[in-house]
Amino acid sequence: MKKHHYNPDSCTTCTACVVHCPVTQAVREFRGPKLAGPAGERFRLSEDDYDAALEYCSNCKNCDISCPSRVPISTLNMKAKAKYYKTHKQSLRDWILSHGEQMAKMASMTPGLANMGMNNFLSRAIMKRVGISDKAPLPAYASEPFIKQFKKIKQQSFANKVVFYPGCFISFNQPEVGLDVVAVLQANQFEVIVPEEAVCCGSPLVVNGFMDEAEANARKNVAILKKYVELGYSVITACTSCGLMLKQEYQELFEINEQERVAARIYDISEFLLELYDEGRLNTNFVKQAGRYLYHAPCHLRVQGIGRPGLELVKMLPGIEVTDADAGCCGISGNYGFKDDKYDIAMSVGSNLFETIKASGVTSVLSECGTCRLQIAHGAKVKTAHPITIVRKAYGI
């Protein structure tokens, strides 16, 4: 297996990354991925040099997608950020945005109160004071976290078992997506295991420089998932950023014993189902349903090199009309677009996608990423859904 390499000299300074960087397009203050990443790295190797422009990088990975020399440019940026924040303190805002899991665990004790508290004029004003945009599409908390709802499901028992890693967004904000995953897997004769002790994948920690905490989470998750992988189980994600973290970014960022064994068994839910289809094992008893959708491929899916399995799967469903929006990054990039000083950049980045959606006339957009869905609903004023929700509907369950 080819590993990514960290030698910034693999960069030939061709500028393909600059051309395709959505943040570079949106703001002139950002020097672009080439200079912030591999070129900056040369200086950082020789002296402690922090380029404030690094704060503009959203880790959306369009630089990695466009790089012909396979330089993990965004990861170089994240590592440089982490080095800086080893000796500097992050803002309260960045702490809050990076610790969604802790925040959510507290909030989920009293979700009604938390939602009320989050979405009133006063608390949005307070959030703005710490640097969270009062216009940003912050997600609401679910009335009951996924794990509690999952435990209430009476699953049919099957010999085939898979592990489902829900991640924070499904766990605390949209558990219904996780329930759809479980239902679809059950319809395909898989029993689903959800390891309750698994923690946040660490993606929101990495982007704000909390690298030690991200590594602690990575070690914990790898240790937990490894036990299941050793039993021969695959690990399924339904959030493309969690999936990318578990299969790729852990390997780029950390040295964890045998993590590549876990990485090799991480599946996007749609990719997993399509593999079943290739083996002739996918339950294809789909009922016809009416629906016209646009599909938005999250950048964190595009960089995985597995195409657009969610789109492919939905295209198989009878009665469904779905078109690839193919209009670039939505701008949100995890918690980037929630930041007060980044909100306008994120909206500018997403503007092409929003315009494409509006021009299409569709009222519902499909995407695997939870925060992409928030941003699309916010920017294009449409409904959104995870592709797996449409698949579940096709099973009529």
Partner: protein, 414 residues
């Protein structure tokens, strides 16, 4: 089980052309790409043949063909395929609202950022030089803070050339950009996509334009594959624009790539980004599936045929290690002088061919890979673009031409 009629490996001009042609024939096409490639940053002109190996100038690409060696890719596919490929390309561009001009009849000499002329063949309408030749008054426009672009250099160079003794006027357009980074043509093209940018350009150029003026400008007339920006400015200013050939990042290539991607998607080509093709599962002399190797695991994709368009040494399709030279995905043989000293000539700027530039995969007339004896090695594999042996695109100015023609042929044959 999902399968493709053809998997195209490589998303450059050769790969995209092959994918579009095959999909146009009703084939199920999967296009695997690794990075955005040089098409996105390159010049976007289709240079067919500007010079022969002995450095003689080619004034008509069609006439030049007869003087090429028989192992040149053009000779392999033949002149009829070339004519068809050119026609195919021109028709496609027109249908996509981004027409190109030119033909195999005559070489087009395009003004460059350093005031020289570069031979090409099929060019976007923004590079049509016929009006420039006829013009007396030429405004040479630059932009404040634009890196590596000096209107005075363009004027100095051009005015020395026969037929270019004209009344030149230099104009530097102020963009008003703030922010710390260098200004690139892409920044300006995106600015000119906006009404504000167009207005500023109109106001600053207006007072220099006379009836019949032609404006020479870097490639900045919009970032998208259409002529909206050019048309608006030409109409408002009653003049004609000619974009110059510049170093990367040249917006002309970005526009061409965007047009080709649009076309491919319309035809149902399945594009897989970052799918790093690593090796193939073979059964005898047939490839059964292409295996990608990403950081997590390998994945096999079943197919009836493969078009290999992964590039040469620069693109990574051909790899030279200290002891070996090989093709990276299908492990096809690559013939090269054993003595590395013979790979290059030390006279860098003599206009002589560089032997290493011709190193590549040998093929039959269907572009299938062959061994030293001419025996077909893989029946369902076709090679397109810089993977091919037998031409020095840098010297000949034939890079995009070979990519187009062989991509077309491969897409037609697979």
């Amino acid at each position: 089980m999902r399968t493709s009629d053809v998997i195209v490996i490589g998303g450059g001009l050769a790969g995209l052309t092959a994918a579009i042609v095959a999909a146009g024939r009703g084939k199920e096409v999967t296009l695997m790409t690794s990075g955005a490639g040089t098409l996105a940053i390159g010049g976007g002109t289709i240079d067919m043949l500007g010079y022969l190996e002995d450095n003689t100038t080619v004034y008509s690409p069609r006439d030049g063909l007869g003087r090429l060696a028989e192992d040149h890719p053009y000779s392999k596919v033949g002149s009829q395929v070339m004519e068809d490929a050119v026609q195919f390309f021109l028709t496609m561009c027109k249908e996509e609202g981004f027409a190109y001009t030119g033909s195999m009849d005559s070489t087009q000499w395009l003004p460059t950022a350093v005031g020289t002329l570069k031979p090409s063949c099929l060019v976007p309408l923004t590079m049509d030089i016929s009006l420039l030749k006829a013009a007396n008054h030429v405004v040479v426009a630059g932009f404040s803070r634009l890196k590596d672009y000096f209107p005075e250099l363009v004027i100095k160079g051009l005015s020395k050339l026969p037929g270019y003794q004209k009344e030149y006027e230099k104009v530097v357009i102020e963009t008003g950009f703030t922010g710390g980074r260098d200004v690139t043509t892409l920044d300006i093209a995106r600015w000119l996509d906006t009404a504000a940018g167009q207005q500023a350009c109109y106001e600053q150029l207006g007072k220099h334009i006379k009836p019949g003026s032609v404006v020479i400008i870097p490639p900045v007339l919009g970032s998208r594959p259409n002529y909206d920006v050019r048309n608006k400015l030409e109409q408002a200013l009653s003049c004609k624009f000619v974009e110059t050939v510049i170093m990367p990042t040249a917006i002309t290539g970005l526009r061409l790539r965007a047009m080709l991607l649009n076309r491919a998607k319309k035809l149902g080509v399945k594009i897989m980004e970052q799918a790093h093709a690593a090796w193939a599962v073979k059964d005898g002399s047939r490839v059964m599936s292409v295996v990608t190797s990403n950081i997590d695991r390998e994945r096999a994709y079943s197919t009836q045929a493969v078009i290999l368009a992964t590039g040469g040494f620069f693109g990574g399709g051909i790899v030279a290690d200290p002891d070996t030279v090989h093709e990276a995905v299908l492990q096809l043989p690559v013939e090269a002088p054993t003595d590395r000293e013979e790979w290059g000539t030390l006279k860098l700027f003599s206009g002589a061919a560089q032997p290493f530039a011709k190193i590549g995969i040998k093929v039959d007339s269907s572009l299938r890979p062959v061994d030293a004896q001419g025996k077909v090695l893989l029946e369902n594999v076709y090679i397109a673009g810089r993977n091919l042996a037998g031409y020095d695109y840098c010297l000949e100015k034939s890079g995009n031409g070979v990519a187009l023609v062989t991509g077309y042929k491969a897409g037609l044959t697979c």
